[in-house]
């Protein structure tokens, strides 16, 4: 069982080497170290998957500490879910590390960059494999820290640092719920093991299960950028693009939903918590799809789309279909990192310009490979059959459709509407960026070449994105439903009823094709001159969605400003005038007492002897009082 441990420790070793000795290594050596450790982790993950016999087991590495009932340990839970997730994380990480070597070729801070990136992979694998909730929290905070450090990586610009801080604070708000849940678990079950928690959840009071489910949901909302904690992700696009691809698309933002999957056996005992998960997911999917439709910055389009797609995963999980949710998680990781890496190529060609309205047809002619990759990514994202996204998103919609309650049916309607918006914004991006005519828009004169290594990394991802549906094809054929078979032994996995599946799938296909056509009508090359028309028709609606439903402004007015005013009051009036005054007054009092007491020590022997007499009199007085 050494392979899973190596998956975990290889990236940590790389981060340690880079942190301790990175400054003294030549650039090429540092890059090789960073890539090699992640590649080694991937090989180890492959070996772990190959050696997996279908039996879930817990690998106890070491005890951590023990205080009262709290005795966390470094233990891993190895089952189909965690090993597949580890495989995906290490594979995508390896590709993105390669890509980063080319993307960061001119940056001087490469040691810091690769150190954080390696540390991130370690932390993420900790989340994936940990069985102990405290150990898991170590990874949970680790990815948060690496995300913070990498969003603000180009720290010369204060806006980047502010974006990193925003991401950190908002995810920390979610973490509070994690800690509260942890405290509740320790006090009620005296164990921090995920397996124990799931096995003994039936012994807990139903209200307690609901409370725990909602607390973990809130924590997951922070990490996975769901309502109401989603505003950090669009700003997180200040990070270098490979970081956006790895952390803010493929892996870290899915950590929240992954945590809920691990807890599924416990949470599924509470219908209220399940419905809350589904509702948050569907609302977020719709909310973010609207916002994505209005963005100009290619990375912000993709960021909002990530929020929206993770919302689908929540919906699937909340509807009781862990398999579908995990299916979408895997396929999304492939197509979204493809789209981000493609966007990185576009940005490189455009000399760091992010605005899709300044790109246009010349970009297609300059980099046809990037164009092809982006089209494939958009097909997968928009759910155009037979790309991967069609099957995975379709499965989630079907799960929501077949769920028993009326509320789930309404959420299905919302999510289906969001699916239409998804295909619209996906192809708006493609059509505007690759067919538009950016005359007089202030873009660069000549486009820059795209490094071959960056292009090369697109193709494996494109293949996975297009063919990802093969992981879990519907139907009765021997090759269909592979993921479902593999995950069958994982606790919390339930099978879906079969009826009406064809009908819902046909509806999905229809919607995606209709959306594709509509996007062509609205932003296609035939409408070159008035491609801005939807925006121009309703400028206020456009501005509203561009700002992300003005949620930032709302938080600023309702939370941040009052908090700031309170802090100012506490600082100036309570601390400055009140407490400082009190402390200074006490210090003056002590100083005066000190000086008057020092006057007693005159240095004269008689003074000492007088005090002898007084002291003796006092002692005798007390004795006589007490003895009487």
């Amino acid at each position: 069982m050494t392979a899973p441990v190596l998956t975990l420790l290889c990236p940590l070793a790389g981060a340690a080497v880079l942190a301790l000795a990175g400054r003294h290594l030549p650039r090429r050596v540092a890059e090789v170290v960073a890539v090699a450790v992640v590649l080694a982790g991937f090989v180890a993950a492959c070996a772990a998957w190959a050696g997996f016999d279908g039996q879930s087991r817990i690998l106890h590495l070491a005890s951590w500490f023990s205080v009262g009932h709290l005795a966390p340990s470094f233990s891993l839970k190895l089952d189909a879910l965690s090993l597949l997730m580890a495989l995906m994380v290490s594979g995508v990480s390896a590709l993105i590390h390669f890509y980063s070597v080319a993307y960061m070729r001119r940056d001087q801070g490469f040691v810091r960059y690769f150190c954080y990136l390696n540390l991130f992979v370690f932390s993420m694998q900790t989340i994936v494999m940990a069985d102990d909730l405290v150990f898991l929290f170590l990874g949970w905070e680790g990815v948060g820290f690496c995300s913070f450090a990498l969003i603000g990586f180009w720290s010369e610009d204060a806006a980047n640092v502010a974006a990193g801080r925003k991401a950190f604070i908002l995810t920390r708000i979610g973490d509070v719920a994690y800690l509260v849940a942890l405290a509740l678990i320790v006090t009620s079950l005296a164990s921090t093991s995920l397996t124990e928690l799931n096995a003994r959840a039936g012994l807990l009071a139903p209200d307690m299960v609901t409370l725990l489910g909602l607390l973990f949901l809130f924590a997951a909302c922070g990490k996975s950028a769901q309502l109401p904690l989603l505003v950090w992700l669009p700003d997180a696009m200040a990070a270098p693009t490979p970081v956006s691809a790895l952390i803010h698309a493929a892996t870290m933002v899915t950590a929240g939903v992954y945590l809920l999957m691990r807890l599924a056996p416990m949470i599924s005992l509470s219908p209220a918590a399940m419905l809350a998960i589904a509702a948050i997911g569907a609302l977020t999917a719709f909310f973010a799809a609207c916002a994505a439709l209005a963005q100009h910055d290619v990375k912000r389009v993709l960021a909002w789309s990530t929020v929206s797609q993770v919302g689908y995963m929540f919906l699937g999980l909340g509807a009781g279909d862990l398999t579908g949710s995990f299916f979408h998680l895997l396929v999304h990781a492939f197509f979204k990192s493809l789209l981000f890496l493609g966007a990185g190529c576009m940005i490189t060609a455009m000399h760091d310009d992010h605005d899709i309205f300044r790109m246009g047809a010349r970009l297609r002619r300059h980099a046809p490979g990037v164009f092809a990759a982006m089209v494939m990514g958009a097909c997968a994202l928009g759910g155009v059959p037979p790309a991967g996204g069609f099957f995975s998103k379709g499965r989630i919609l079907f799960a929501a459709f077949t769920a028993p309650g009326l509320a789930e049916r309404l959420l299905w309607v919302l999510a289906t509407a969001a699916a239409l918006l998804t295909v619209l914004y996906a192809f708006r991006l493609v059509f505007v960026a690759f067919f538009g005519q950016p005359a007089g828009q202030g873009g660069p004169e000549a486009l820059a070449p795209v490094p071959k290594l960056m292009l090369a990394m697109l193709w494996p991802l494109a293949l996975l994105a297009l063919a990802g549906g093969a992981l879990n094809l519907p139907g009765e054929a021997p090759w269909s439903g592979w993921l479902g078979h593999v995950l069958a032994g994982v606790p919390g996995v339930a099978a879906l009823p079969e009826d009406n599946e064809a009908l819902v799938s046909a509806l999905d296909a229809l919607i995606s094709l209709a959306g594709l056509l509509l996007a062509w009508r609205l932003w296609g090359p035939k409408n070159l001159m008035d491609w801005r028309r939807p925006a121009a028709l309703a400028p206020r609606v456009h501005a509203f969605f561009l700002s992300g439903w003005k949620l930032d402004a709302l938080y600023l007015a309702a939370v941040a400003r009052p908090y700031q005013a309170l802090a100012l009051w506490l600082w100036r009036d309570v601390d400055g005038r009140g407490l400082d005054g009190l402390a200074l007054g006490a210090a003056n009092l002590a100083g005066n007492a000190s000086r008057s007491l020092r006057r007693l020590a005159t240095g004269r022997v008689t003074a000492t002897l007088v005090m002898f007499a007084l002291g003796l009199a006092l002692i005798l007085l007390i004795f006589s009082v007490r003895a009487a």
Binding site: A590, A601, A607, L609, F612, F623
Partner: protein, 470 residues
């Protein structure tokens, strides 16, 4: 085993003192290394025997006690004497003070302290107390050429004579009341409830408390301390502040343990008042004190207050807090006075705060040990002083004296302000004159290393020692 073996440590120290004097008679100028090595050898031999002797009840016609507590205190005293000599040897030879009397008197004083720590009889009690006090009078005046040194000796001697008179009169009263000189049985029979023995017994106890309070510098009997500590050579002050106090506390601990309940009822309020007064009278004046040796004198007064707190909690919490704090106190004050001596130029001990400016950079090692000792005195975590204060406060609160614990914490906060000023001078001040003071020499480095390492080590891992004391 014959009872006489229990006198062996004392006999060895006596022989050592005589040998040191004899060496001075035979050799005109004995090598300082020979004197120091010989004295340390005798101390170590006495220590080894203290370690090896089995615990026993009162021996030698109930004159001496020898249980685990006595063994601990005797080892502490021997260690304090050894470390003081390590700090003192080069200090003394640079200043021409390293005559045979330094080593002989330290050994004789240690002998007196061991007797006091093990005293089970009032005669031994007085004998031990007066033996080491007599030696200390001379040690304080060791620097005969300096007016302040002589003045300090005189200021210790005159109240000391008065206190000794009171102490012996107190013993006489107790003897008159109970007809016994045995420490435990005389105290036990004062409580018999009959007025004839209880009244005079308590009066005797009051007089004994005065004598002991003077030795410990408990308020209000503490006014001699600033002058004496300031005038005494720094390593002598270190010995005076540590060994003698600890020996008296060992005797006081046995006294408290022997007290019957109704006598304790009368004594506890006195201890309460004395410790509160001592804490405040030690901590507060230190705050605005700019003479560092006087500051350390006040600080050691305050430390006596903490030890008295621990003693007050003894019936409820056992001897571990008072013993642990005694060990912490010995290390902290040895470190403070010892490194102060090493930092001082030959022309006179450093005293004014400005003299310490920048020494953290120019004399890093002695300054670091001084800093660690001060941090420990202030009770900061990761030092032994923190653990000691913590243990004492817990014991005091458990024993039901929350107000006293509050006063103690208040005193600690105020005193921390005083120590911080010295630390600030050491590390943030600009050096006034470079190259003052002499290199400490290997012996002092050993002492510095031992003291500094033990303060930090026992601050981080106090468990084993605390477990041993329980």
């Amino acid at each position: 085993m014959s009872d006489w073996f229990y006198l062996l440590p004392q006999a060895i120290l006596c022989a050592g003192g005589l040998a040191a004097l004899g060496l001075g008679a035979v050799l005109l100028r004995p090598a300082p290394g020979l004197q120091l090595g010989g004295a340390l050898l005798f101390l170590a031999a006495a220590g080894a025997i203290v370690l090896a002797l089995p615990a026993a009840g009162p021996v030698l016609d109930d004159m001496l006690a020898f249980d685990g507590i006595v063994r601990f205190y005797q080892l502490l005293i021997l260690g304090s004497a050894g470390l003081s000599l390590l700090f003192a040897s080069r200090y003394a030879s640079l200043r021409g003070l390293a005559g045979d009397e330094l080593y002989a008197l330290v050994l004789f004083a240690t002998l007196g302290m061991l007797l006091l720590a093990g005293a089970a009889n009032w005669v031994i009690f007085v004998l031990g107390l007066e033996l080491f006090t007599l030696c200390l009078y001379v040690l304080i005046a060791l620097d005969r050429g300096r007016r302040t040194s002589l003045e300090a000796a005189l200021k210790y001697f005159v109240p000391g004579a008065a206190a000794a008179g009171c102490l012996i009169f107190g013993v006489a009263l107790i003897y008159a009341a109970t007809g016994s000189l045995d420490l435990a049985s005389s105290l036990a029979s004062t409580a018999a409830g009959d007025v004839a023995s209880f009244g005079p017994g308590l009066a005797g106890l009051a007089l004994i408390l005065l004598g002991v309070g003077f030795k410990l510098a408990l308020a209000p009997f503490h006014l001699w301390a600033p002058d004496v500590y300031q005038g005494a050579p720094a390593p002598v002050a270190a010995f005076l502040a540590t060994g003698s106090k600890v020996a008296v506390y060992a005797a006081l601990l046995r006294l408290v343990a022997a007290l019957p309940a109704d006598a304790w009822q009368a004594l506890a309020p006195v201890f309460w008042l004395l410790s509160a007064a001592t804490l405040l009278a030690g901590s507060l004046p230190a705050l605005t004190q700019t003479r560092v040796k006087r500051l350390l004198a006040y600080s050691s007064v305050a430390q006596m207050g903490y030890l008295l707190l621990a003693l007050l909690a003894y019936p409820a919490a056992g001897p571990a807090p008072v013993m642990f704090y005694a060990a912490a106190y010995v290390l902290m004050d040895l470190g403070a006075f010892g490194s102060l001596g090493l930092l001082s130029p030959v022309s006179g001990d450093l005293d004014a705060l400005e003299g310490f400016a920048g020494l953290g950079r120019t004399r890093p090692w002695p300054a670091a040990v001084l800093a660690v000792s001060l941090l420990s005195l202030a009770g900061l975590p990761l030092t032994m002083g923190f653990v000691g204060k913590f243990v004492v406060f817990v014991a005091v609160v458990r024993a039901g004296y929350p107000v006293l614990a509050g006063i103690g914490i208040l005193g600690a906060v105020v005193a921390a302000g005083a120590y911080l000023r010295v630390l600030g001078a050491l590390y943030f001040g600009r050096p006034v004159h470079a190259g003052q003071g002499q290199p400490p020499g290997p012996a002092a480095y050993v002492a510095l290393g031992l003291v500094g390492a033990l303060i930090v080590l026992l601050g981080i891992v106090p468990g084993p020692l605390l477990g041993l004391l329980r």
